[in-house]
């Protein structure tokens, strides 16, 4: 029976949740995994809630439906707190990684997860993005934070693979590439919980 890891990304239109899912998928594929990465397309507008998914497995993945029980959930925007149930469908050993300047204990309290066995991790990805990329686009640092929190993939490999991807996309803007790679590394190191 096919076993696969499922990940759900919550963001707002313009924050790059879809791109993060695609980049993670590509990095996992480069590491020899079978992958899926896909957004839930709706009437997206800048700032509207967006959901994207990953499936990662050592075996071919045949399912083609939405992810319902993600082990890992990544939240790019903490202003969702109270309006979106991030933990929907998460198993007891799930990991929730949130972009916020709050500590894991404080977020756990805010989310009413004091009694939950779900691990809550936090990182100030927006600040990291501002410091490194110069814009508040928290998607690449949140990919680093997810890997820091879960050891899902080897961070050096991910940075190397992302570098190759960004070099194609931003070949005339080397500062964007360096900033994103630095953001991934910093969030990987700074994620707490």
């Amino acid at each position: 029976m096919a076993q696969y890891l499922e990940i759900r990304w919550h963001g707002r239109g313009g924050q790059g949740a879809k791109t993060a899912a695609l980049l993670l998928g590509e990095s996992a594929a480069a590491a020899g995994k079978y992958i899926q990465a896909f957004p839930e397309y709706g009437p997206e507008r800048m700032g509207a809630p967006v959901v994207a998914y990953n499936r990662i497995s050592d075996q071919p993945i045949t399912v083609h439906c939405h992810v319902k029980e993600p082990k890992y959930v990544v939240v790019l925007d903490s202003t969702f707190v109270g309006s979106v149930d991030f933990t929907d469908g998460m198993p007891e050993d799930g990991v929730l990684v949130i972009n916020t300047d709050k500590s894991p204990a404080e977020m756990r309290k805010r989310l009413g997860l004091e009694e939950s066995s779900i691990r809550v991790c936090t990182v100030n990805a927006t600040q990291i993005a501002l410091d490194t990329i110069g814009r508040a686009i928290p998607n690449t640092p949140m990919m680093g934070a997810l890997i820091g929190a879960t050891n899902l993939l080897n961070i050096e490999d991910v940075i190397e693979d992302t570098k190759r991807k960004l070099e194609k996309k931003f070949r005339n803007r080397p500062e964007v590439i360096a900033g994103n790679l630095q953001a991934i590394q910093r969030a990987y190191e700074e994620v707490q919980g």
């Binding site: 590509e26 896909f38 993945i61 045949t62 399912v63 439906c65």
Partner: protein, 394 residues
């Protein structure tokens, strides 16, 4: 052959396949969720990676008209569309088939308006099912890519000379990144070969007329010829699928079966939902339930005899249609599958589910419910409702 495994969306896989085929002419108009295919292809043209004459047109009607003109002139011509785009080119779609032009068109399946919806169902290509085009449906990005390459050979085969639609589920496959194994360029070039049409308009040594008036004297014979070409397409699809399999390790037939041989109940379905059904079958098999799947690849030609043979041992079968044919006593795939089994001395009980319209997610619980319903039918020996709706609010 050297192959390469990459992470590609369905649209990227199709565009890459088109690049390797390197057709003479592509004419297309953008429509979600197909747009990326020709958008990516246009970058190949701009970067000088292909020799294709890329014709930007003002509508899908013009896109199909342009590829018809190109193909009539002896070119290998391709296009891509979805939903309203296919609907808009409807009248010329029939002309492409009746002129026996081996055009290949990728269709990212999408619901038809209204209400307006950009997501997947098969209403668009079901509306073209009697247009005379071959229709191949793809479970995932890999199959979309493989089907596209094979479609060229099938369409251009002297016994066939019919256009082919390569269908992939909009968004679910077109926009989802998946693991895809690509053939090397040289293999694809050799596999599709050089197109040498028997007749074309730019051959002054052998002048022909194409598309003239054809009244009660010969129109009927030409339609009869189309039916015969579609009948012959079946063996060509099998032969090309076998040859492709021998060279790539990924063989194709008219349909794929999964855990069907010893199954008591089964689902018949096309495209991406077949993959979800496979995962449900794995779970139910682990519990000892004898459930199986038949995933239809070739909807036109419809392999009725082969389907009857493959399904005859079952006690109950559910056919899942991602399109409705309102109050026609079942949707197209069901009606045809049921008709195909009518002449069997002993037939399985058959029910129809219309599912997933407008992109409604068809998850594993919905598929599991279908198998539970089939088990109940077998146990109670009561068919109940024959045409049902899956995953809809009633």
């Amino acid at each position: 052959m050297v192959s390469k495994t990459v992470a590609y969306t369905g649209n990227e896989a199709i565009a890459h396949g088109m690049k390797q085929i390197n057709p003479d002419v592509i004419a297309a108009y953008p429509i979600t969720p197909q747009t990326e295919i020709v958008q990516i292809y246009s970058t190949f043209v701009a970067d000088g990676l292909v020799d294709t004459e890329f014709v930007t047109v003002e509508s899908e009607h013009s896109a199909m008209s342009a590829v018809i003109g190109a193909a009539a002139g002896g070119a290998r011509a391709m296009t891509a569309t979805s939903s309203q785009g296919l609907a808009y080119m409807h009248e010329v779609v029939y002309i492409a088939a009746s002129m026996r032009l081996p055009i290949v068109m990728a269709v990212a399946n999408r619901a038809l308006s209204g209400p307006i919806n950009i997501h997947c169902d098969h209403s668009d290509t079901m509306g073209a099912r009697d247009s005379g085009w071959i229709q191949l449906y793809s479970e995932n990005a890999q199959e979309a890519y493989d089907n596209l390459i094979q479609a060229v050979r099938i369409a251009e085969h002297p016994d066939v000379q019919l256009p082919v639609m390569v269908c992939l589920d909009g968004f679910i496959i077109s926009h989802a990144l998946e693991t895809v194994t690509l053939n090397d360029d040289a293999f694809v070039k050799e596999f599709v070969g050089i197109y040498k049409p028997k007749h074309h308009l730019l051959d002054p040594e052998n002048p022909v007329t194409m598309g003239p008036l054809d009244l009660f004297d010969f129109y009927f014979e030409h339609k009869r010829d189309q039916a015969e070409a579609m009948r012959k397409a079946k063996d060509v699809i099998i032969a090309v699928g076998q040859e492709y399999g021998a060279k790539t390790g990924r063989g194709y037939g008219l349909f794929e079966t999964y855990q069907l041989d010893d199954a008591e109940t089964a689902i018949v379905v096309m495209s991406s939902t077949a993959g979800t059904a496979k995962a449900v079958i794995d779970e139910l098999r682990a519990q000892g339930q004898k459930v199986g799947l038949l995933k239809l690849r070739s909807f036109r030609p419809f392999p009725y005899a082969e389907l009857a043979e493959a399904l005859k041992h079952l006690k109950a079968v559910a056919v899942l249609d991602r399109a409705d044919s309102f109050n026609a006593f079942g949707a197209p795939l069901f009606v045809q599958t049921r008709a195909a089994l009518y002449d069997l001395p002993q037939r399985p009980t058959m029910i129809n589910y219309i599912y997933g319209l407008g992109g409604r997610d068809c998850d594993m619980s919905q598929i599991a419910r279908v198998y539970a319903d089939l088990a109940e039918i077998v146990k109670s020996n009561q068919t109940g409702e024959i045409v049902r709706y899956l995953g809809v609010r009633e």
